[in-house]
């Protein structure tokens, strides 16, 4: 861990040394311990320790960006010189936005030293126990187990100086029994809250089924999408619809429809980087506090997220959704929440006469026709036919192709319980989603071997 004192001091000194008109520096340091396993053996075990520092300068309305992966003084100075050189050679940019104003914050509420300092032996013991539990019932186990620590800091010449540190523990488990697999994943800021036993039980329940997988016809089904499946869809919607860039280019399905009802009025989607139920990160890579942004408000198109650049272009203040300065996708939501309903998951299943239970999707893609939010993807472990309110038999892999707005217009129920979904070794964001009961969801293909 670099620590807030050293990181802020290092970045502040570099800003102070910069001769540019404005200087903004952001850093993301990470230490991840990741073990991957399959069939009772660990095949990859690593510690990834790295930092990326972005330096953005402006000089005479010209922008220069450089990045490096160390906080050593000589490298940072070289990085600053490279950014200045780029700005020197770059053409001027019309109407540059001002730097975000003074904001100072240090937060370590999401940081648990015991989690990142977990002895390797303790992690191995947990895995050994999981392997034993699986082999005890004749199943096999594959997956990954990770603990990690992130530090994010932003300092600029207008007085921004902020730092946050956080930890995580996460796992993905695939339990396999004969022709069936079950999946469970979990993530928490603290290792001791991960509930590995509960997750393992969930994965085993899905695969220790008395039926072989059955093939069901393609067509439109009532579906119960569990939180991970909902997150797969809503995260894609965030990418294609809730950012200022796609909105202004009018590829977003919200463009030109603000205030219009697009979904069932029971659906409210928002982005909140401060909600402790998610993996909170209180500011963005420009050093702007994250705002809670309503994106879909009781079914109506309600808002999109901005960073400084797009906010300046379109006359809207930044909502704190800026990414590092070399990112060209524009601002995007990163902490998506769907508001909870009133029902229990089991009540939703009991209310379904004939339908499909989908724990998660595989390889969702939302680029087919973004204006219609048309998406495709596939079922994976644990998908099950529901008959007369009961889980009937596991189903073999199905492909859906579905306009998401249309699907979210026909809501039959939303669970009270929500779950945190995240892959913290890949990104800082997360989704917090309920189980969703939809009346119509179109399955257009099947997997065959």
């Amino acid at each position: 861990m670099i620590g807030h004192a050293r990181l802020l001091d290092t970045l502040a000194k570099l800003v102070a040394r910069s001769p540019a008109d404005t200087t903004s520096i952001s850093a993301h340091a990470k230490t991840y311990r990741v073990s991957r396993f399959a069939y009772e053996a660990i095949h990859q075990d690593l510690v990834q320790e790295s930092v990326t520092v972005y330096v953005r300068v402006t000089a005479r309305q010209r922008i220069g960006v450089a990045a490096t992966d160390t906080v050593e003084r000589a490298s940072l100075q070289r990085c600053l010189r490279a950014a200045l050189a780029i700005a020197h050679h770059a053409p001027p940019t019309k109407g540059l936005p001002a730097l975000p104003p003074r904001y100072e914050r240090i937060t370590t509420t999401g940081h648990c030293p015991e989690t990142i300092n977990t002895p390797p032996k303790q992690l191995i013991d947990e895995l050994t126990r999981a392997f034993r539990l699986c082999s005890g019932v004749g199943a096999q186990l594959a997956g990954s187990f990770a603990v990690g620590e992130d530090e994010v800091s932003v300092v600029n010449s207008a007085g921004v100086a902020c730092y946050t540190a956080s930890t995580f523990a996460s796992t993905k488990l695939v339990a396999m029994y004969r022709k069936l697999s079950g999946f469970a994943s979990g993530v928490h800021r603290r290792l001791d809250a991960l509930n590995l036993d509960g997750l393992l039980e969930q994965a085993l329940k899905q695969c220790l089924h008395r039926h072989e997988p059955i093939t069901v016809p393609t067509g439109t089904y009532e579906v119960i999408l569990e939180p991970e499946a909902v997150a797969d869809l809503v995260t894609w919607l965030g990418y294609i619809a809730f950012g200022a860039k796609s909105f202004q280019e009018r590829t977003s399905c919200l463009a030109g429809r603000m205030g219009e009802p697009l979904m069932d009025r029971r659906i409210t989607i928002l982005d909140d980087g401060n909600d402790p139920m998610g993996l909170a990160v209180p500011f963005d890579f420009e050093g702007i506090p994250k705002q809670r942004v309503l994106l879909i408000d009781r079914g109506k198109a309600a808002g999109i997220v901005y960073d400084t650049t797009y906010g300046h272009l379109y006359g809207h203040p930044s909502t704190g959704h800026g990414f590092p300065p070399d990112e060209i996708e524009g601002p995007l939501p990163s902490h998506l929440f769907m508001e909870a309903g009133a029902q229990k998951r089991d009540e939703l299943i009991r209310s379904c006469k004939r339908g499909l239970l989908i724990p998660r999707f595989h390889y969702v893609n939302g680029l087919l026709n973004p204006r219609e939010a048309l998406m495709t993807g596939l079922t994976r472990e644990g998908a099950c036919l529901i008959k007369d309110g009961k889980l009937s038999a596991p189903i073999s892999t199905m492909r859906f192709t579905q306009g998401l707005l249309e699907a979210f217009r026909h809501v039959l129920g939303i669970s009270r319980a929500r779950r945190l979904i995240a892959d913290p070794t890949q990104e800082l964001g997360c989704a917090v989603m309920p189980t969703l009961h939809l009346a119509k969801f179109r399955f257009t293909g099947r997997s065959e071997d």
């Binding site: 399959a38 690593l46 990045a67 770059a90 191995i124 590829t251 192709t401 070794t425």
Partner: protein, 493 residues
């Protein structure tokens, strides 16, 4: 930016020190990367950035268990600590791992490899590169329907130095260049995108700035501006099974998803089950399974000049090879590592281990997975088609976790009527099952039509590694493929 020199002596001292610690095997990999990225949007520069990185990754095998750790600090004291960390991780895993982990043998070499280039892209003045990009993008803007016009250039220099306890000492130097354009047009509720010369930053090669000049972005801008405006008013394809001809830009994605990933042997052995999935090309199918028709010949070739999946040696020190994957339709080979090759009794590694960066260990990756050309020209492919479609430039992609059921959409298509290209079609979607699809391949075009592209964002592993891989392909023709418009009314096959 001035970059770190290769610390040869330091690496030598470090590997000798690690060897003394009773490891079964270890390697040390120094990597240095310089990446320049330019993005132009409309009449202004959107982003110019340069990223510099250097560090060392240490991988040890001890009592049948791997441990990996890395550091950007290039001092012996730091790196010794990093090595100790890798060893302690391996020791901890060894308490679970009950079996030994043999590696397929190699002859350790001392070698230097350099990719070929003519014009060093980092020596070309920034102003010249920007002027060219702004000029190209100016050819996209103008009409009111154009909502966004962007152009990009990317240049990379990567240096690797690999040493192992077996005595390998390998230095490699790679230069990559890439460029492309994208335009978005909108009228009412209709939004269309065109890319040139390929989508998803696919115009990427191990080459210098001469590659960018060769792409003719100026001519390409005119072409895609015309096409994107035409697409706003184009018809939709008819729904149903038909004959499909895929442009090389789309064959590339078809190869990537339905052949490249399922032949990764680590995936076949279950090591990607929790993330990317498994593979239908199970080990019992090697040498027996009918993957495609007789026209289908696929190789994984790390020796193709210009391919971004090419190298002299992989990140285990195995020489870059050309491996037969599908020969006359029959599945005959995997992408493999020393460990996975030994596990399958293959005798030698396929030489496919690469890491994205110094801070992650190598995993089995595609090299250049190429569909070999046939004898026909494009006109021959089209000639006997009563009705079908020619589809070009990938838009969306999706395939199941065993790599069987796929669905793709492309940016553009044309109807084929009585052997001739006809009207443009928008939003084409096609879907199928991998072996059924490739078994319906009725011909592929010749070497003059064969194109080599890159995929710059191939995601795999935990933590996720994004790898540059290559694909070469001619046009390919398939019978009985289900095609439909990508719209909310699509009901499937």
């Amino acid at each position: 930016m001035a970059a770190a020199k290769i610390p040869r002596d330091l690496l030598g001292r470090l590997i000798r020190d690690v060897k003394r610690q009773d490891v079964d095997y270890a390697d040390v990999r120094f990597e240095r990367l310089l990446h320049e990225s330019l993005v132009v949007e409309g009449d202004h520069v959107k982003s110019i950035s340069v990223f510099e990185s250097a560090g060392v990754g240490i991988r040890v095998l001890l009592h049948g268990s791997w441990g990996f750790a890395s550091s950007p600090h290039l001092s012996l004291a730091h790196l010794k600590r990093t090595a100790s960390q890798a060893i302690s991780i391996a020791k901890a895993s060894a308490s679970i791992n009950k079996k030994s982990r043999p590696l397929a043998p190699i002859d350790p070499v001392k070698a230097v490899h350099r990719s070929r280039w003519q014009i060093d892209p980092f020596e070309v003045p920034l102003a010249k590169k920007l002027d060219y990009l702004l000029w190209a993008v100016s050819g996209l803007v103008g009409p009111k329907s154009i909502k966004r016009a962007t152009g990009h250039m990317d240049f990379l220099k990567r240096t690797k130095c690999f040493v192992s306890t077996e005595g390998a000492q390998i230095e490699q130097h790679f230069t990559e260049s890439g460029a492309g354009l994208e335009v978005v047009a909108q009228r009412g509720n209709e939004v269309q995108t065109r890319s040139y010369p390929n989508s998803h930053h696919g115009a990427l090669a191990q080459a210098g700035f001469e590659y960018v000049k060769h792409l003719d972005l100026i001519g390409g801008a005119k072409q895609i501006q015309t096409e994107v405006l035409q697409l706003l008013g184009a018809r939709l394809p008819k729904t149903g099974a038909t004959t499909l001809v895929l442009h090389p830009t789309q064959v590339v994605m078809q190869l990537h998803e339905s052949c490249g990933h399922p032949i990764e042997l680590d995936r076949v052995l279950g090591q990607e089950l929790s993330y990317a999935g498994g593979s239908f090309l199970t080990t019992d199918r090697l040498g027996r399974f009918r993957y495609g028709s007789d026209h289908v010949n696929i190789v994984a070739d790390a020796t193709v000049v210009g391919g971004v999946g090419s190298f002299g040696y992989d990140d285990e020190g195995v020489p870059g090879r050309r491996v037969d994957v599908v020969r006359n339709g029959r599945f005959v080979g995997y992408l493999s590592s020393r460990e996975s090759a030994a596990k399958l009794g293959l005798g030698a590694s396929g030489g496919a281990m690469r890491a994205e960066h110094w801070d992650v260990p190598p995993i089995v990756r595609m090299t250049n997975v190429n569909l070999e050309p046939g004898q026909a020209c494009l006109e021959d492919l089209l000639r006997d088609i009563k009705h079908g479609y020619l589809l070009s430039t990938n838009k969306s992609w999706s395939i199941d976790d065993q790599r069987l059921n796929f669905q793709f959409t492309t940016e553009i298509g044309w109807e084929i009527v009585k052997g001739q290209l006809g009207a443009m079609v928008k939003n084409p979607l096609y879907t199928g099952i991998t072996p059924t699809f490739w078994q319906r391949c009725t011909d592929v075009s010749d070497r003059t039509t064969w194109q080599l592209w890159g995929v710059s964002n191939c995601a795999k592993g935990e933590p996720m590694q994004l790898m540059h891989v290559g694909h070469g392909a001619p046009y390919a023709r398939f019978d009985g493929v289900f095609v439909a418009p990508a719209s909310s009314s699509y009901e499937g096959d």
